[in-house]
């Protein structure tokens, strides 16, 4: 297939996965910031949301303070933020339109409808200037539904060929990045020694983290005990059955990269690199991770994941 087509497919998936993550992140953080002060310790919630979303570098070009209203406006609706939800939908749709022929009708219709819906939403709110909480919550639900519909359409309707593999690859590379970024900004509340110090106050942080990756219920099924920070870290990093864990993402990345390599009859640096990362995750216990330092571990992972992104691009997307 055309390199440009593969590139566009990969990015459509990444954009929609990112939009979904941002929607969950905003939802979870809104819950925390609605808590009475006594429960939320002294975490600067919205600042960490900015960092987790990667928008902290440009945010202060446009705003003075990371208030809830400012951060939500910037992350959800601001066209000036390259990764805002609205831009993810618009760029996703632009990418999709550029490769219409590689998408199934269902996939195209799901993203095109979402874009039309977004235009409607923006037109309706332009006059108001501000989106109230009820509207916001509806909007975030719509974003999650869009991502779900697109993903489901891809899963149910695409031919299992290289187009499908590249589109899946986008989902998992982006998802791994999102989970890792979230861990990176929250690592301090997950450190074991924190429990004895701040203990119960961090409970709400832990549940917020789980909510951001839609794993709160999953947690209980997997561990069958109250929420412990090391379990949260374990779930998000090492648990194969948890769809947003780093290991699960790399399981899929390896699988789809191998499928591409098998189809083209050639493996390259991307396949080798992905396998190395996967093996490292597989052979680690959460104890090892904490011993090595959670922060260092996650940082190294983010670097590795970015490197994989570049290798995929070099090997397949730019030729």
């Amino acid at each position: 297939m055309l390199s440009r087509t593969a590139d566009n497919l990969y990015w459509v998936s990444r954009y929609l996965e990112r939009a979904d993550f941002l929607a969950r992140l905003i939802e979870a953080s809104s819950r925390i910031s609605a808590l009475p002060k006594a429960y939320s310790a002294d975490h600067d919630e919205w600042e960490s949301v900015l960092i987790a979303s990667g928008a902290d570098e440009t945010f202060y070009d446009h705003f003075d303070a990371a208030t809830e209203a400012n951060v939500i406006a910037y992350l959800a609706f601001d066209p000036r933020n390259a990764s805002s939800i609205r831009n993810c939908i618009e760029f996703g749709r632009t990418n999709a339109r550029a490769v219409r022929t590689a998408l199934t009708t269902e996939m195209w219709e799901s993203i095109n409808s979402a874009w039309l819906e977004l235009k409607k939403f923006e037109a309706a709110h332009q006059a108001l200037g501000r989106v109230d909480r009820e509207e916001l919550s509806k909007f975030l639900d719509f974003v999650k539904a869009t991502s779900l519909l697109f993903d489901g359409s891809a899963y149910r309707t695409m031919l299992r060929d290289d187009a499908y593999y590249f589109s899946r690859l986008g989902v998992y590379v982006e998802r791994a990045d999102n989970t890792a970024r979230l861990l990176d900004v929250k690592y301090h509340v997950l450190l074991p020694e924190q429990e004895s110090v701040g203990g119960s106050l961090d409970y709400y942080q832990w549940t917020a983290i789980l909510r951001s990756v839609s794993a709160l219920t999953a947690y209980h099924w997997v561990y069958r005990e109250s929420i412990k920070p090391w379990n949260v870290a374990d779930l998000l990093i090492l648990r194969q059955e948890m769809p947003r864990s780093l290991l699960s993402c790399y399981d899929n990345i390896v699988r789809f990269l191998d499928a591409i390599g098998g189809r083209y009859g050639r493996l390259g640096p991307a396949q080798r690199h992905a396998r190395t990362v996967k093996n490292r995750l597989e052979n680690s216990s959460i104890k090892d991770v904490f011993q090595h330092g959670l922060h260092e571990f996650v940082e190294a992972f983010v670097t590795d994941n970015n490197q994989l992104g570049s290798e995929i691009a070099e090997q397949y997307l730019i030729s």
Binding site: L2, S3, R4, A98, R100, Y264
Partner: protein, 478 residues
């Protein structure tokens, strides 16, 4: 000024023609609002699928829909047979003309077509002089615009042999009608158009260069998603099962064209381009164009790739050459033209000029190289002062002008929220030329001027479209 015109559904006495009896009944029986609600349903579907076209320079309307009219336009089998024969004849002649113009130039030496009309034509490509193209086919896809003024006569309004668009609407309108009015459709035994894309692919493959493999690699070259016809490009690529490429996806090495794929470079044999000549190759044409592929013309001249439609074909479809089409058909085929040309006075000829000057208030005078109604005089609508001003222009530079009578285009019933009314229509059938001959799928794109009394069917100016049904029954026999 309101002119009497031929309505395709209704006779002068107000009764429906036999061909349209079922349509007339259907319109009459449809409860008020039903047609309109179906039209809204169609619009929603079109928007959802993304069948839009872009209007340049209009930010809000960057992606607009072409209004779709729910009432189909009908032709009898006898009418279509006449049209089809005429279209095939005309396109054969167009291909022969282009082969000749870029080859031996017999028609110019015989004085049938004046040489300066060819060589001074902005679409004439000196790069193509002396070049042959596979099977001598230059216009692989032609869109011939047809109007009718009475029960019997079809006129060709314009030949489009560069990159005619609109065929996706022909195909999508049919799907829409089958969905919105399945009973009406089933009752009419309509000739299918859905095989167009298969015929197109077969045509394109049939003109592949000899070096190509038995299944030539074909691609569609688009200027990209901001082009007004991008939807159509992607639609066709999808239906043909070929890659939709942009210039940046291609490269030329040693006079061979490749596309960049995830598995490395892949050789290309046939390019169905929807990019104009001037943008194809920055080394030969516009050096600043990013839409094309450097070296493409070299590969083309080396015979390693077929470009459809061929480069330089535009010389056959301008307004001045148009007036010679009947003579061109006679010259190459020794046949009388089956489709009429709209009577045209070429002001470069003294007798014609005299006639035009004497009848300015009745005629439409057009600049040969003008387009979109610019530099045009519509006699019946013009003031005395305007006519006198134009008279001076004509006398100064008669070569720049042609004149035609004001045609009264036929009308078809068209649905509006307030009810059904007659509107002027034209028809663009799509004609395919390949190694195995010239073919037309039974149908075409009917464009309708939605404004009452308007003759402008262009989609950029408020025109709509209709599905076009070729029936099994004859129009004349009943």
């Amino acid at each position: 000024m309101k002119m009497p015109c031929f309505d395709e559904m209704t006779t002068e006495s107000g009764a429906p023609r036999a061909l349209y009896q079922r349509i007339a009944d259907w319109i009459e029986k449809s409860p008020p609002g039903l047609l309109d609600s179906r039209a809204k349903q169609a619009e929603m579907l079109f928007r959802k699928i993304g069948i839009t076209f872009a209007v340049y320079g209009d930010k809000d309307a960057a992606e607009r829909l072409i209004p779709f009219d729910i009432i189909p336009r009908l032709f009898g089998r006898d009418e279509w047979s006449r049209l089809e024969a005429g279209l095939i004849q005309r396109v054969k002649a167009l291909n022969m003309f282009l082969t000749d113009v870029y080859g031996e130039q017999k028609i110019l030496r015989a004085g049938v077509v004046p040489s300066d009309l060819v060589f001074r034509n902005p679409c004439y490509r000196p790069e193509m002089q002396g070049k042959r193209v596979p099977h001598d086919i230059w216009t692989h896809i032609s869109g011939i615009d047809i109007v009718r003024v009475d029960a019997n006569d079809f006129y060709v309004l314009e030949d489009n042999v560069r990159t005619p668009s609109g065929v996706s609407y022909m195909l999508e309108n049919r799907e829409m009608m089958m969905r919105l009015a399945p009973d009406l459709f089933a009752e009419h035994a309509v000739a299918p158009v859905e095989n167009y894309t298969d015929l197109l692919l077969a045509s394109l493959r049939s003109v592949a260069p000899p070096s190509a493999s038995s299944v030539p690699t074909t691609v569609i070259l688009t200027p990209g998603q901001y082009n007004s016809a991008y939807y159509e490009h992607s639609f066709l690529a999808d239906k043909l099962g070929v890659e939709l490429v942009e210039g940046r996806d291609l490269l030329v090495k040693d006079d061979i064209v490749y596309m960049r794929t995830t598995e490395g470079l892949k050789r290309i044999d046939v390019i169905y381009r929807r990019v104009d000549d001037e943008f194809l190759d920055p080394l030969v044409f516009k050096p600043d164009s990013a839409l094309g592929v450097p070296g493409l013309m070299g590969a083309y001249h080396a015979g390693n790739v077929t470009i459809a439609n061929a480069v330089g074909g535009g010389v056959a479809d301008d307004k001045a050459i148009y007036t010679y089409m009947p003579d061109i058909i006679r010259f190459y085929l020794s046949e009388e033209p089956l489709l009429k040309n709209v009577a045209t006075w070429r002001c470069r000829e003294p007798d014609a000029l005299k006639y035009v000057l004497d009848h300015l208030s009745e005629l439409v005078v057009k600049e040969v190289n003008g387009s979109g109604g610019y530099g045009m005089l519509v006699g019946p609508h013009a003031s005395k002062a305007e006519i006198e001003e134009f008279r001076k222009k004509l006398i100064d530079a008669p070569t720049n002008f042609i004149a035609q009578p004001t045609l009264s285009l036929s009308t078809c019933p068209t649905s509006f929220p307030e009810g059904v009314g007659p509107r002027h229509v034209d028809l663009r059938p799509f004609v395919l030329s390949g190694a195995d001959g010239v073919k037309v799928v039974p149908g075409g794109l009917t464009r309708v001027a939605l404004k009452e009394g308007s003759l402008v069917v262009n989609s950029s100016q408020g025109g709509g479209t209709k599905d076009t049904w070729i029936l099994e029954t004859d129009a004349a026999s009943n």
